[in-house]
Amino acid sequence: MGRAKLPRKSTNIDMTAMCDVAFLLLSFFILTTKFKPAEAIAVTTPKSVAAKVAPQKDYVMVILDANGKVFLEMDDESKKEAIANALNSSRNLGLNTAAFKKSLFFGAPFGSLASFLALPEDQRKGDKLPGIPVLDTANNELVTWMRFTKDAYLGEKEPAFLLKGDNMAKYPAFKAIIDAFKKNDILKFQMVTSPEAAPVGTDLWKLNQKGEKVED
């Protein structure tokens, strides 16, 4: 019979093109991923329904760890220099300005700040440092830190004041930080948290369902 012969097609597909695309995407994601820097201070933040992303630059962050120790971190080097100069002139601490500028965070009483700066970077670990003393209300050193920080930013756009606290930190330390902010008229600040969805059925959830923006 003269049956039409169907040409047999191979089931093999050339994977090269797909492979190219896959690895292109892969390299894109690898390069764009910003890995979390190894944190010198271990902090587990509480969860909240806040949807606003925490600012990543122009910030002044107060870190409160699980033992109630307080650290100060900021990103603007020129401001750090101004603070170092202010500390040196007002309290005569003899700080190394260059080291101060390079230091990512500060966590020592004023008295031992110079020796803190003398430590190599990799030895500045949160659990070994004394932290900034705050609990003594008469001598809350964070108040001074905040005053100099505010002075350094004088006449410019205010930085975002952040507070990153650990779940297990006790309230008195938190209160001391709030007081330090208040005494310097910093009345707006933000608390760093991990995101969480609004529980189903609550008022916020209903608002979100309606598509309304809730300012928090």
Binding site: N12, M15, T16, M18, C19, A22, L25, L26, F29, I30, T32, T33, K34, K36, T45, P46, K47, S48, V49, A50, A51, K52, V53, A54, P55, A160, L162, G165, N167, M168, A169, K170, Y171, P172, A173, F174, K175, I178, F181, K182, D185, I186, L187, K188, F189, Q190, M191, V192, T193, S194, P195, A198, P199, T202, D203, L204, W205, L207, V214, D216
Partner: protein
């Protein structure tokens, strides 16, 4: 899938005495490589979007120097939350009775329904939530309560220092353990 192309010379006849070299295909099966590639892509996609911390705003009021400058709240619309040790929450509505009879015990699971009830039964302009953390509570507790304000869309709330009497009451109730015990009822 991995195939070897042995068809080689396509039946092309060599002369006699010429040895046929077996020709191997240069094609490699790329499927596992693609699999691996996509697996890694998914991994990176998930890890990048996950760790984006959010920020919760808190506006502090300026301290009023004179008592007459302070905000007055209507007694019927006030609910005071006290935070104790071990995630205990205590609350009372209005003023605290001298004998502590309206001092009630609660926890973080129940406090939401209490707040929702209070919100339903109170005119919006009178409703004020006062949060008084004791020295024993943790930062997480405070954030959780502030979060509860956001969840239930309570606009008026205040973070206030605990008074000595209340602190003592919280301490006693904390010591007596679980919810319901202590000074309530």
């Amino acid at each position: 899938m991995a195939e070897m192309d042995t068809s080689g010379g396509g039946g092309h006849k060599k002369g006699p005495g010429v040895k046929k070299g077996k020709k191997l295909s240069t094609r490699v099966d790329l499927t596992p490589m693609v699999d691996l590639g996509f697996l890694l892509i998914t991994f990176f996609i998930f890890t990048t979007t996950m760790s984006q911390p959010t920020a919760m705003r808190l506006f502090l009021p300026k301290d009023a120097d004179k008592p007459e400058d302070q905000n007055k709240a209507k007694e019927s619309g006030v609910i005071t939350l006290l935070l104790g040790k071990d995630n205990n929450v205590f609350y009372y509505e209005g003023q605290l009775e001298v004998n502590g009879s309206n001092f009630k015990s609660s926890n973080f699971k129940e406090i939401r329904s209490i707040l929702i009830d209070k919100k339903r039964n109170t005119p919006e302009k009178d409703l004020v939530v006062i949060i008084k953390p004791s020295a024993e509570c943790t930062y997480k507790n405070v954030v959780d309560v502030l979060d509860e304000m956001a969840i239930n869309v309570l606009k008026k709330y205040a973070l206030v220092d605990i008074s000595e009497g209340e602190a003592a009451l919280v301490k006693i109730s904390d010591a007596s353990g679980s919810a319901g015990a202590g000074a309530s009822n």
